[in-house]
């Protein structure tokens, strides 16, 4: 079947080329300043992978300090230079490490690397579009991200160090250059970098939303969209509405830092002398920040959940359980994301009544989240599961999402949060539910769509080894952290010399265990990096539809050219999850196969749909007119 389709496409290709006269772009236009969504996606992915290794390496350095406080680190001097003093990590640099680890992972890896990669790659391919609504804005989006990356990366090499006030950069610590070395030039560069990053996300998000709404192929109604697209769509909506608020918070911070205003500053004494700033409020910054900060959690998580829906349904050979419930729950999460931000601020002295309102809203998020988890499990239930590496990572995501989500119910409680706030319990919670889960989604997506991206397969065995080491590693790192957190260890502390009851001593073993597990998990990612880069050039050649999937991207040729489909864009007649349909000859029916071609497997209401097929086909001219300039 695959070959037949290919030949048909080639025949079309000639006619198409004469019509539009596509010129083969030069190297720079093709690989560097490309407007092609697939190239931009790969640029995002590779930049994201490089950032992930930097972000991970930073965490290993501070894990060494936490797990082995007495270790002599002089051997790191060639890399870290003056940051190692007498065999010990400099205390200020430790703060810089946790700050940069958080910033890099949240924004550069799991926002740009995840959403940037897969929204760009999959939206046009899965909805049946030739490219994004605006290739130019899309290119700008990547290069703003690149610029922001360069600035952030440069700040790592400043003598005074990069920003060190935590990835949330709360004032007054971040607002006063004299507060700590990292609040000087490092902080300025952080703000510059993030401003460009916000511009990049907004340009990307506008493009994603516009493409999903405007450029769907004929027949692709909203209820026939794959769940990946729904997830990217909601992610873009979240970003579009929340990133501008971060920008407004950051601008006020810039004014406070550079122009002497006092939006966030009031009655501060340094060395016994009062600063002139009065009337500001540091809590205001937290409100504005978390109005982005909380949706950001879902900006990171939703794409991973969307990817998982797709990979699990494909490899369980079953339709996704509760397609509409999945959309509904994502919509619920999107709405709720905007009205729960203050649960990050329970201990800022806010009105307890307000606290209980935010607690209630926060706990409601458990409902759509549980619906999603339930639907993943019921999709797997009695499926003919094919354990590809992508599938393993998706199942891993479901596991992490549940075990990390359960502690969210505990932390969302404003009374319990008094005890647990800013302890390792929180660190364990969000690393499982948003960090590792999203990271697993990213990896699942890479393993699953690698054949479409590069026309080659990744090595399966290496994929399995990578999965098991990562899966066991992530749990070994973050599960013990819950106990450490309950024992009262605060996050972002350089060392624990003054805890009551010699707690440092009784938990020293556990901290060492976590550090060793972290090193193993991080090292295991080298297997992935090798597999990824090796397979780009030397991997086994992929077939057109290696996973027997139903969605449109697999109807393109193995090596997808500019414009995605050499001939006409296929029409869509059915939803994307017709797997193992009773009566059908094969266990999947692609979205572009009309009901009139499958009388043996149609349900009664689908037989009625046949009447509409002519209408769908009739839209071909209208669709083509969108692309004629």
């Amino acid at each position: 079947m695959a070959t037949a389709t290919l030949h048909a496409n080639e025949a079309h290709a000639h006619g198409h080329d004469h019509e539009h006269e596509h010129h083969e772009p030069g190297f720079i236009r093709k690989y560097i300043f490309s407007e092609d969504h697939k190239t931009i996606a790969k640029q995002y992915l590779i930049t994201g992978i490089i950032w992930a290794f930097f972000g991970g390496a930073l965490s290993i350095i501070f894990r060494l300090q936490l797990g082995f406080p007495d270790l002599n680190l002089d051997w790191l001097k060639p890399v870290l230079g003056e940051w190692i003093v007498e065999g010990k990590l400099e205390k200020e640099f430790y703060l810089a490490l946790v700050t940069m680890h958080g910033t890099i992972m949240v924004f550069f890896v799991l926002t740009a690397g995840l959403s940037g990669t897969f929204s760009n790659f999959l939206i046009p391919l899965q909805i049946g579009a030739r490219d994004m609504a605006s290739g130019f804005l899309n290119m700008l989006s990547y290069w703003f991200f690149f610029l922001s990356s360069v600035i952030m990366f440069t700040s790592l090499f400043l003598e005074t160090g990069p920003a060190s006030g935590g990835w949330v950069i709360y004032p007054p610590l971040s607002a006063l250059p004299q507060a700590m070395p990292g609040s000087g030039l490092g902080m300025t560069m952080w703000l510059m970098s993030m401003t460009f990053f916000i511009v990049s996300s907004l340009l990307g998000g506008i493009n994603y939303i516009c493409t999903v709404i405007n450029l769907r192929t004929r027949g692709m109604s909203f209820t026939k969209l794959p769940l990946t697209i729904w997830a990217f769509f909601f992610t873009a909506v979240l970003g579009l509405l929340s990133f501008p608020v971060l920008l407004s918070a950051a601008l006020l911070l810039i004014f406070d830092r550079s122009f002497g205003t006092s939006f966030y500053l009031s009655e501060i004494y340094i060395g016994g002398e009062a600063l002139p700033n009065v009337g500001g409020s540091a809590i205001l910054y937290q409100h504005l920040f978390w109005f982005l900060g909380h949706p950001e959690v879902y900006i990171v998580l939703l794409p991973a959940l969307g990817i998982t829906s797709e990979v699990i349904a494909t490899n369980a050979r079953k339709p996704i359980f509760g397609y509409r419930a999945m959309i509904g729950s994502m919509m619920g999460i999107t709405v709720l994301a905007f009205i729960v931000w203050a649960h990050h601020m329970f201990v800022t002295g806010m009105n307890p009544f307000l606290g209980s309102v935010f607690m209630l809203l926060t706990l409601i998020i458990a409902v759509p989240s549980a619906v999603k988890a339930f639907n993943y499990i019921t999709t797997l239930w009695k499926g003919n599961i094919i354990f590809t590496p992508g599938m393993l990572f998706s199942i891993g995501l479901v596991s992490l999402f549940i075990s990390g989500g359960v502690t969210g119910i505990i932390l969302g409680n404003s009374a319990l949060d008094i005890n647990l706030h800013d302890t390792y319990f929180v660190v364990a919670h969000f690393h499982l539910v948003m960090g590792a889960a999203s990271f697993f989604g990213l990896l699942a997506g890479v393993y699953h769509w690698f054949p479409k991206m590069f026309g080659r397969m990744m090595n399966k065995t290496l994929g399995y080894i990578h999965f098991w080491l990562t899966f066991a590693g992530v749990y070994s790192v973050f599960f013990p952290m819950h106990y450490i957190g309950i024992a009262g260890f605060p996050r972002r502390y350089y060392s624990f010399t003054a805890l009551a009851n010699n707690a440092q001593d009784s938990f020293a073993d556990l901290n060492a265990f976590i550090s060793i597990a972290a090193i193993i998990t991080f090292s295991a990612q080298a297997i992935f990096a090798f597999n990824f880069f090796y397979s780009i050039f030397k991997g086994k050649k992929a077939t057109q539809n290696p996973w027997n999937s139903t969605t449109l991207e697999w109807t393109t040729p193995v090596i997808v050219g500019h414009g995605n489909w050499p001939g006409e864009i296929p029409a869509v007649y059915r939803w994307p999850y017709d797997y193992s349909k009773p009566g059908a000859a094969v266990d999947f029916i692609p979205q572009n196969v009309p009901f009139s071609a499958t009388p043996e497997s149609n349900l009664p209401e689908e037989t009625e749909e046949i009447e509409n097929e002519k209408e769908i086909d009739g839209l071909l001219d209208t669709q083509n007119s969108v692309y004629s300039h």
Binding site: A4, G205, V245, T261, F263, G279, V593, S596, D617
Partner: protein
Amino acid sequence: MIQEHLKDIDLSEQPVKPMAMNPQKFMLWLGIASITMMFAGWTSGYLVQKAEGKWHEFELPSILMYSTAVLLVSSVFMHTALLAAKKDNFSLLKIAISITFVFGVAFLVMQVYGFSDLIAHKLYFAGSDVAASWIYVFVGLHGLHVVSGLIVLLVSLVSAFKHSIHANKLNRIQLCATYWHFLDLLWLYLFIFLYFNR
């Protein structure tokens, strides 16, 4: 196998149905949504800070009242220009869009005069008090957006004088008009907001 049945489908009937809205216009609306969120962030921040009590009552510079009127008038002429373009009435289009532009510039100049009025009352961007800083933020950052609006307007103005805007090519001026009306409404919101929440 199944896909070969695709050939059998009759393509003779072709109902015309618009797929969706113009992508550029849609993108503009999305951009407007994000700018709105940014200003919503600031105005809610203003309210939070005002509620904390360390606040000084202040008088808005009276020139802001007049500048608001000027901006409203420019919006009316923007609309006139759009209607003229739809009717291919080129002389009216040129006059109306020029007036819009001139009024837009006048608005900016008046906002800057508003700043000097504040300074005369010893209300500075930094160093006096937060309430004053907020006015500078609102007026200044809205002004920055008006500068971007004037650039867009200038592009349309040049196109109008080159006769490249007409009833069959309205996209550019429609985008321009939407953005300009939005900036007008945004200022109206900020002005009323400041007026009632001093």
